[in-house]
Amino acid sequence: MTEFLSGVALIGDPVTILWIMFGVCFGIVLGAIPGLTATMGIALMLPLAIQLETATGMAMLLSVYSGAIIGASVPAILLGIPGNPNAIATIYDGYPLTQQGRSAEALIGATVGSFVGGIGSLILLALFAPLIARFTLRFGPAERAALALVGLTIIASISGRRLAKGILMGAFGLALAFLGPDRITQTMRLPLPSVTMGTPLANGIQLVPALIGLFGISQALYDISRVKSGTFTPPQVSFRGSIPKPRIFVRMWRMMVESLGIGTFIGAIPGAGASIAVFLSYQRAQRRRAPAVEGGEAPQLGSGALEGVVAPEVANNACKGGALIPALSLGIPGDAATAVLLGALLIQGVVPGPTLFIDELPLVYAILGSLLLANVFMVIFQLAGISVFPKVLTTPVPILLPLILVFSLLGSYAVEGRAIMAASFNMGVALVLGIIGYFLKKNDYPIAPIVLGLILGDMLEQNFRRAMRLARGDYTVFLRSPIALAFLVLAVVSVAYALWSSRRHSDDSDTTHGEADD
């Protein structure tokens, strides 16, 4: 009890609360700018944080982390451009909702989802951190490779009727993921190595510029072509009747609990990343859609269903608490952002790990308390912003579309901070993939499988080869591990279900299938 009170005292002063408010605000703005990630925000604030008291500095950094994650959902919903990789799945239903004039509803859904994910994972962190952390250690290379395979099967469910095209795009994403150094042997896999060796391509294709190109630039180019052909309808900005009733969210409780579990658990596996969690939770939501509200047919996921925004946002924010589990209880960062947070703790002389929960209990309570406060302020600021954010859509299209293009290019440039060469290269990557994405969109190819291939290709290849190397070439390693075996079965079931579902829909030609609208 004394430790708890000491922890509260560490963050209970007005100065710390002001820092938390500042951190959340800064994070939301940063996250809303495509290309600027939570990791970058924390790294930017690191020099400032280490000048503050340890608990205050950590509270500020955690607030930036929380703010940046919810902030990324704003452009995802309003413009169809994920602010950072965590918000990829939010665009599937968020952007269609905006196009239907229901952006406020989508933003509220994202806020509720984020709050549930944030607080839920915080509770799990407080209650079960050492237990979950120990369990995630059972995820070795074989288990992670199998998990990545499950992630790749999501391509089938998000491609809808365009299954063949989806698989082709997934393969394109995998090919992009394999560019750069072979992560096991460090051998370069590059076209024209004599030319490309000393260039940033030697480091492979970075995810954020690829995302900006494939979603931001391609969408702006596509809209420009539609403006030219006179088929473009600007999204409506209307607030009438757009506040969802609380009972709608209550009906989603099962889906929220599932997404919370997926997000917290995947977040706690070092190196798995939020992207796989948001897609997995979206896939689950697709299968467990809440019943239609007030009679009538509820919209299919992918065509503007609120569940499609809430599920990935719960998972996305749950990953944050999840990533802190191995970070605080084992000293192993769950993701890049928590790696910087750990660095901040180390600079202050605090060593994270099992002893943290014994030696520094007040600080642990202070960290949990500041996360709680950050989540509360996140809701307040986000709700306050809901009447402001959609105003961006009132910008005349001849100004808005070029602005999106400029910000997309700036965002891809900013990823590398002050590294001019790498930044210029990233801008080139965004532009080239933007143009490719434009032609793909025009020809009705889904874009998301490319991103899944790009994210999961690296995880699958590295872990598969590592598992094989550790097992000296014995493939049965994937069958001997109960976790890997369970994932392999899940992957097979997932593909079979998607094929069956796809065939059922194509048999019923009258039913319009909810394809993910990229």
Partner: protein
């Protein structure tokens, strides 16, 4: 009129010529209004970053110009190194160089140290070879005996083939007739997670990593002629004490400061003075002691010569691991 104009023009050219020949007025280096950027070619919060942040903090006490840290990670350390090589050789951009610069250069990812010149050498962060606390080995000899009984059955993890731990594990494996199954992981944190989960038998870690996880690790050997200065690790025997004097591998991570080749000599000397004062300060010396970093000071040309020695040490290991730029 024409003649008068020509005289004026000639006079102008002469005056301008003299002014040009005299050059701009000499500005003291470092200009107090300018910022010196220390490019750390790794992410913020990592081991290398923390050491250089500590040093830069202290360096700011010895100059009026502001010195800041900029993290430019990627491609081992090549992305940050290439950025430094792309900026003017004026001393206002300095690189957190070291053993990582040598490996990145030999792999052909950057022109690296061939286009860099030394400011000062700092320290070695010697690595420790450890096994899981639940593993059956109490000594390195026992471990080696088992590895020799069934070659490649025991897995020896590193944090990435191109990095310092990768070079060390490959070098050790070569020395011991390739009895270990050397497996690279995706960075230090990934290696620790897999080690604690017992997916890999042996690991090579920094001293601070071992100190943090002492209750789950059995450290078997410190790869340095001197024992650790960290109290919890002072019982860990050196490779020489264990009878492996002929083991020729890099000790761990070596760190230094470099600038782009062609930087004026007086700028390099000024930077070396500032960095040396910070290095010799009580604060940085105490920090090194606490972190187990073993000082290896060198200055300007001495550091350039030291890099040549490192190249000789690293070359055969990278060649054996097939990591050399062909």
């Amino acid at each position: 009129m024409l003649r008068k104009g020509m005289v004026m023009a000639v006079a102008f050219v002469l005056v301008a010529g003299v002014a040009y020949a005299a050059g701009p007025p000499e500005v003291e280096f470092p200009d107090p209004d300018e910022t010196i950027t220390m490019v750390v070619p790794f992410g913020a919060g990592g081991g290398t970053d923390l050491i250089f942040r500590e040093l830069v903090d202290e360096m700011n006490n010895y100059t009026e110009a502001e010195i800041i840290v900029d993290n430019i990670g990627g491609a081992g350390s090549a992305t940050g190194t290439n950025e430094v090589l792309g900026l003017p050789a004026d001393g206002y951009t300095i690189l957190a160089s070291g053993a990582h610069t040598v490996t990145a250069t030999l792999q052909g990812l950057t022109e690296g140290y061939r286009e860099l010149e030394g400011i000062i050498g700092l320290n070695w962060d010697p690595f420790i070879v450890a096994v899981h606390r639940d593993a059956p080995w109490e000594t390195f000899d026992e471990l080696l005996a088992d590895a020799q009984d069934d070659p490649e059955a025991l897995t020896f993890g590193n944090a990435g083939m191109g990095g310092a731990t990768g070079v060390l594990t490959v070098g050790m494996n070569l020395h011991f007739d390739e009895v270990f199954n050397v497996t690279p992981f995706d960075g230090g944190a990934d290696l620790i997670a897999n080690f604690l989960g017992q997916h890999v038998d042996i690991g090579v870690f920094s001293q601070t990593e071992v100190a943090e996880h002492m209750d789950e690790m059995t450290p078997l050997m410190i790869v340095h002629p001197e024992r650790s200065t960290i109290p919890e690790l002072q019982d860990v025997q050196t490779y020489q004490e264990l009878g492996y004097e002929d083991l020729e591998v890099p000790f761990g991570s070596y760190r230094s400061i470099s600038v782009r080749a062609g930087t004026p000599q007086e700028h390099k000397e000024a930077l070396a003075d500032i960095a040396t004062q910070a290095f010799e300060s009580d604060r940085f010396q105490n920090y090194m002691q606490e972190q187990g970093l073993l000082p290896e000071y060198s200055r300007l040309e001495e550091l350039d010569a030291y890099f040549e020695e490192l190249e000789e040490l690293f070359y055969p290991i990278l060649e054996a691991a097939d990591l050399l730029d062909n």
